[in-house]
């Protein structure tokens, strides 16, 4: 097995020399581990018995009626800890333990990846430090408390916009400093190789489960697979299973924030512009003419990121996937609509994917699959305030 370093011209390993031997060690360990049936046996068992996988594929009938076509929800919100992030965190934490690393670090935006990593570390008895921007700590207070209850230390990051970008930079600096004892669990399909392909492989069970179940229950493939994209791990995990099914459209939904024209958004794939390097990989990024990374904006902390996974940039360029943006206001409306129509409160991140489906013209026999990447409990305070309910 080999690990992709490049997706077209995107990806690579743009990191300080101090980390290069660690990345090579990680890649070798991942190649060996992912070929070891015992690893998959343990991971599969935990994902089944501990996390409750496979997650349900739910035919959302009232939503379907509302949009005039069949809509299926892949219920990652019902995964343990409330999001798809657990699939990756558990897979990497098991890898870290096999590598003999005792200290785990992670970055988090919305807190979902931080909670998932803290949970996996509690389960496996590993020390855990989660870097989180202070603005995100404010927006996602319940997840901060959750991580602390799970025994993790939440390290506040007070630089820049105090969100996911700064948290990721600080986690990488910690790794540079403590690389010999520390394993860095990246939460998305971003960062230097081998992370983008490793995280995709750990998340692809989202797509694999959904594809098999749709074929079995509906006797066909979906017309469209729709998922939100910040770094893009739930989307990449969902898309991966359908890449070789050309009849299936792949739609990545980015954060349109206050609108693309406002410049306050998190939609580097949709907007286009020259590629650049952020956090170790070349990809679509939001940058100034001089190459300074711009601050992203989204109501959802998990999509509030000026970069994205390199494979997404490649899928965009090749036309295999399409990327569009949904604004804060549209996402909030979808958040409320799904709650009222289906009794499901989605994460604000996932609400972007729901909003995209709500915006499409009423159709006939299309079958839309939405990756409902997480639940919205963490977002209640923020969303209710914005909706004028609180």
């Amino acid at each position: 097995m080999s690990v992709e370093h490049r997706f077209g011209r995107y990806g690579g390993q743009y990191v300080p020399e101090t980390l290069m031997p660690a990345l090579q060690e990680l890649e070798a360990a991942w190649v060996a581990t992912s070929a070891d049936p015992a690893y998959h046996e343990e991971l599969d068992r935990l994902l089944r018995d501990y996390c409750g996988r496979p997650t349900p594929l739910y035919h959302a009938e009232r939503l379907s009626e509302h949009v005039g076509r069949t809509v299926l929800l892949k219920r990652e919100d019902l995964n343990h800890t409330g999001s798809h992030k657990m699939n990756n965190a558990l897979g990497q934490a098991l890898l870290a333990r096999r590598m003999g690393k005792t200290r785990i670090i992670a970055e988090t935006g919305a807190g979902s990846h931080g909670v998932a990593t803290a949970t996996a570390c509690a389960l496996l008895g590993l020390e855990c430090v989660v870097f989180m921007g202070t603005e995100d700590m404010r927006r996602q207070r319940p997840n901060v408390l959750r991580m602390e209850l799970l025994g993790a230390r939440v390290q506040p990051v007070d630089a820049g916009a105090r969100t996911l970008k700064e948290a990721t930079s600080e986690a990488i600096r910690d790794w540079v400093t403590n690389v010999e004892t520390t394993y860095y669990v990246i939460g998305s399909v971003v960062g230097p190789a081998p992370y983008p392909s490793m995280v995709r492989d750990l998340q692809r069970r989202i797509g694999d489960e959904a594809r098999a179940e749709i074929l079995e229950r509906f006797g066909r493939l979906p017309s469209r697979v729709v998922a939100c994209v910040g770094g893009g791990s739930n989307a990449m995990g969902a898309f991966a299973a359908f890449l070789d099914d050309p009849e299936v459209e792949l739609i990545g939904v980015e954060a349109g924030g206050e609108g693309l024209a406002s410049m306050r958004h998190g939609a580097p794939l949709t907007v286009g512009g020259p590629a650049g390097v952020l956090h170790g990989a070349m990809s679509a990024i939001m940058q100034s003419e001089d190459g300074q990374i711009l601050e992203a904006h989204s109501i959802s902390a998990g999509l509030d990121y000026p970069g994205t996974g390199p494979q997404h940039a490649h899928l965009r360029d090749t036309g295999r996937a399409r990327y569009e943006a949904v604004t804060d206001v549209q996402a909030l409306e979808a958040f409320r609509t799904l709650a009222r129509l289906e009794g499901i409160i989605p994460a604000l991140e996932s609400s972007h994917a729901v909003a995209w489906v709500l915006e499409q013209p009423r159709g006939g026999d299309e079958l839309d699959l939405i990756c409902l990447s997480g639940r919205g409990d963490k977002d209640l305070a923020e969303a209710l305030e914005r909706l004028g309910i609180a």
Binding site: Q13, E17, T18, V179
Partner: protein
């Protein structure tokens, strides 16, 4: 003279046990003062200068240089403005630019290398371009007569050191500690310096963590051909009422420590 020759001459012609290379952040605290700081460094005995072009997300830098970069950008520093500072200083001492790869890519690799050479820069350090990603950048620097200076770290194994050392231009920047830039109390660079010197024919400079004349002297005694001091001087530029005078005073002390 090409950049490589400028750098070689500075190392060979030094009047100290190790060449002294202060780091300054271009545009910090403002463009004019950063140029004055560079002048003060040269007046106080610097053999070469490392001039930072600020980047919004400097992964290899600790808090002091990060904060200086952020402040420089807030004060309006641009790549062009820092290239202007380079042009002013390069007439007096070899200037090695230090920045992150996205700054180079935004301008285009060949165009950046050409412009850097045109303003008299002798070399370029890009800490997030490791050996594996360096081919295109090195080719462009070679074509422009600019030395692409590689970094090595305590975590770099010997076989890899040899490959990096073989492709090095100007000098090898040896990162003294496993970590980001910033002042450290105790350093033990001897074993690492010996490994690096065995792996390359170009001079070996030590940086990251060096802040005092005593540490600079120890680095020279341990075999460093050059000593790079950054965070201590940037901190002085941030804290002093008269930044150029204070940085010059500290560089004078460092130079005396290497005499």
């Amino acid at each position: 003279m090409t950049g490589l020759e400028h750098i070689a001459a500075a190392f060979a012609g030094r009047d100290k046990r190790a060449a002294l290379m202060p780091y300054l952040m271009g545009g910090f605290p403002d463009v004019e003062t950063s140029a004055a700081i560079g002048d003060a460094c040269i007046d106080a005995g610097a053999d070469l200068l490392e001039l930072g072009i600020p980047f919004s997300d400097p992964l290899a830098d600790g808090p002091v240089i990060q904060a200086a970069g952020t402040a420089a950008l807030r004060a309006g520093a641009t790549t062009d403005a820092v290239l202007g500072v380079c042009e002013r200083l390069a007439a007096r001492a070899p200037v090695v630019l230090m920045t992150y790869v996205n700054i180079v890519l935004a301008r285009g690799i060949e165009r950046f290398a050409g412009q850097a050479a045109a303003v008299g820069a002798a070399g370029l350090i890009v800490p997030d371009v490791p050996l594996e990603e360096s081919a295109e950048l090195r080719a462009a620097c070679d074509a422009a007569g600019l030395a692409l200076v590689p970094l090595v770290a305590p975590t770099t194994p010997d076989e890899r050191l040899r490959r990096i050392g073989a492709g090095a231009r100007g000098f090898v920047y040896t990162v003294s500690v496993t970590g980001t830039t910033g002042e450290r109390r105790a350093l033990d660079p001897g074993p690492l310096l010996q490994r690096v010197k065995a792996a390359t024919d170009v001079p070996v400079a030590l940086g990251f963590g060096i802040s005092t004349p005593q540490q600079a002297a120890e680095a020279a005694a341990a075999g460093a051909d050059g000593v790079i001091v950054g965070s201590r001087l940037v901190r002085a530029a941030a804290e002093a009422d008269r930044p150029a005078a204070e940085v010059g005073r500290l560089v004078g002390e460092l130079a005396a420590g290497l005499a």
